[in-house]
């Protein structure tokens, strides 16, 4: 099969194009667009019509697609076999664990998921790399909203008028506020927030909020490491965007 430009950008000659295209076809369906014709699929994915037809035919014969009136296709229940039945039973913190572990390993630090608990953020998931030098936090540990990256991610996602109340009145917040404001300006552009060491000197962390369907932050994700292990540039250019993409994936899928 000839690759489209988007596919050619994916690395590796080991990449199986036909499989990727089939999965993308399944991904075309959603609640606002529960059925599609082969032509619509071909157009949506930029595939030649005969290619789209063969892939759809394959999934029809395997029972992953069903044909309705006028040849419109929709996903069949068998699609739930493709991992949904497995993951839909997972608690969210477990669902996200492999992603956080991967980030922690990448920076040689730690990554976590935290929820608001008073003036603190409480970790409900925490993954560490094999590196020795990480902040001593575990599931259940708390960090202040006012001074931590994970707390700042929460503040950044709240309406401006609510931020001071959420951080709580403290000298720590008074001291941290200017640095938070600088980080917030970057957040509005980047979608992630970096704490350069306010919580702990020499420890850099980036964090993102994950928004619920109500438009309020549900929880935050963070990833950090000792300044000796991770550069500010790596957080800004690699880890921050990955966290932001993970947050978007969770918000869209869970």
């Amino acid at each position: 099969m000839v690759q489209t430009a988007a596919e050619a950008a994916l690395p590796g000659r080991q990449f199986v194009t036909a499989l990727a295209r089939g999965l993308k076809i399944l991904g075309c369906f959603h609640s606002a667009r529960p059925s599609l014709s082969v032509t619509e699929i071909a157009v949506a994915l930029g595939l030649p019509q005969p290619t789209a037809w063969r892939l759809c035919q394959t999934m029809l014969s395997l029972g992953y697609l069903m044909a309705g009136d006028a040849g419109r296709l929709r996903p069949a229940l068998a699609v739930l076999r493709l991992g949904y039945a497995t993951l839909s039973e997972f608690p969210l913190a477990e669902l996200i664990r492999p992603y956080l572990q991967d980030l922690a390993d990448e920076v040689g630090g730690a990554a976590g998921m935290a929820v608001r608990d008073g003036f603190d953020m409480r970790f409900v998931q925490r993954c560490e790399s094999a590196s020795q030098l990480v902040l001593n936090l575990r599931i259940g540990s708390r960090v202040p909203i006012a001074t931590s990256a994970t707390g700042w991610a929460l503040l950044a996602s709240l309406p401006a008028a609510e931020r001071d109340a959420a951080a709580g009145v403290s000298t720590a917040w008074d001291a941290a506020r200017p640095q938070f404001r600088a980080a917030l300006a970057a957040f509005e552009h980047d979608g992630f927030i970096i704490n350069p060491g306010v919580l702990h000197p020499g420890y850099r962390t980036v964090a993102v909020p994950v928004m619920g369907a109500d438009g309020r932050p549900s929880f935050t994700l963070n990833c950090g490491a000792a300044a000796s292990a991770v550069s500010a540039e790596q957080l800004q250019c690699e880890i921050g965007p990955r966290l932001r993409a993970l947050a978007a994936l969770i918000a869209a899928s869970v």
Binding site: R74, R81, E89, L249
Partner: protein
């Protein structure tokens, strides 16, 4: 024949087969084991898995194992969204669950399994931990029996002959299923008393499409200690049958 002329795309079929190896009882599987489960050569499995990792449909865990990635949830939800009955049934099912301190399930058949497309439970009640997407055996679950009860006997026998040999519990379950089907002719519902799970009782009915064929099984279930067969028969059955009739009359076709 040139590759592009093949009507069946093997690489796609194999990749989907790999993805369907994962289950709640086996959420994480290594490459070698995937090759053994699918009977595919290891390098083929590796390339297919590599592709799915690139696309996010598989993620690495614990170093050497794989498990499905978050995007599969979106695929599943799209499949559920194409069944409007799942949403239409939610309110009456929650009503059933709340009224009887029970769990209510709506399931459709996928081969020898019933897949819950809706599930409503009463808070703080002892019920089976099953959710939307859960896959129950057609031949031993109440939701399966509810669907089977709506079939013509000849049609049902075809399914039993096909799937009986695939279910290790079939010899033990068979007499119970046959008795339940006889009861359904008389009552219009089936009772599954401790067959799906010891100490767990359920009542089930078929939900028919406009063509008169059963499209779903609809159930109401609870612990044997609170939901005796007599209770299900006398108290739950009339309400469950009414809910099924109402849903059948307000039938919303699948999206086309």
């Amino acid at each position: 024949m040139a590759e592009d002329d093949r009507p069946f795309v093997t690489a796609l079929a194999r990749g989907l087969e790999i993805l369907s190896c994962f289950s709640l009882s086996r959420p994480e599987i290594g490459g070698t084991q995937l090759a053994a489960m699918t009977g595919l050569p290891q390098p083929t499995v590796w390339r297919l898995c590599h592709t799915m990792v690139q696309l996010g449909f598989l993620v690495s865990v614990n170093g050497d194992k794989l498990r499905p990635g978050i995007p599969v949830l979106k695929l599943g939800r799209a499949a559920l969204a194409s069944i409007p009955m799942a949403e239409a049934a939610r309110e009456p099912m929650q009503g059933l669950a709340d009224r009887f301190g029970a769990a209510s399930g709506l399931g459709a058949r996928d081969g020898n399994r019933m897949v819950f497309v809706q599930r409503c439970i009463c808070e703080a009640t002892l019920v089976m931990n099953l959710r939307v997407g859960a896959r129950l055996p057609l031949l031993s679950s109440a939701v399966g029996w509810g669907l089977l009860a709506g079939l013509e006997p000849a049609e049902r026998d075809v399914l039993l002959a096909e799937y009986g040999p695939t279910d290790p519990r079939w010899p033990e379950v068979r007499p119970h299923l046959e008795a339940a089907m006889e009861g359904a002719v008389r009552d219009g519902f089936i009772l599954n008393v401790g067959v799906f799970h010891p100490g767990y009782n359920a009542i089930g009915v078929p939900l028919r499409g406009p063509d008169g064929r059963p499209a779903f099984g609809l159930t109401c279930a609870g612990s044997a200690s609170t939901h005796s067969a007599e209770f299900l028969r006398a108290n739950v059955a009339p309400v469950l049958l009414q809910v099924a009739r109402d849903l059948e009359q307000g039938w919303i076709p699948n999206c086309e």
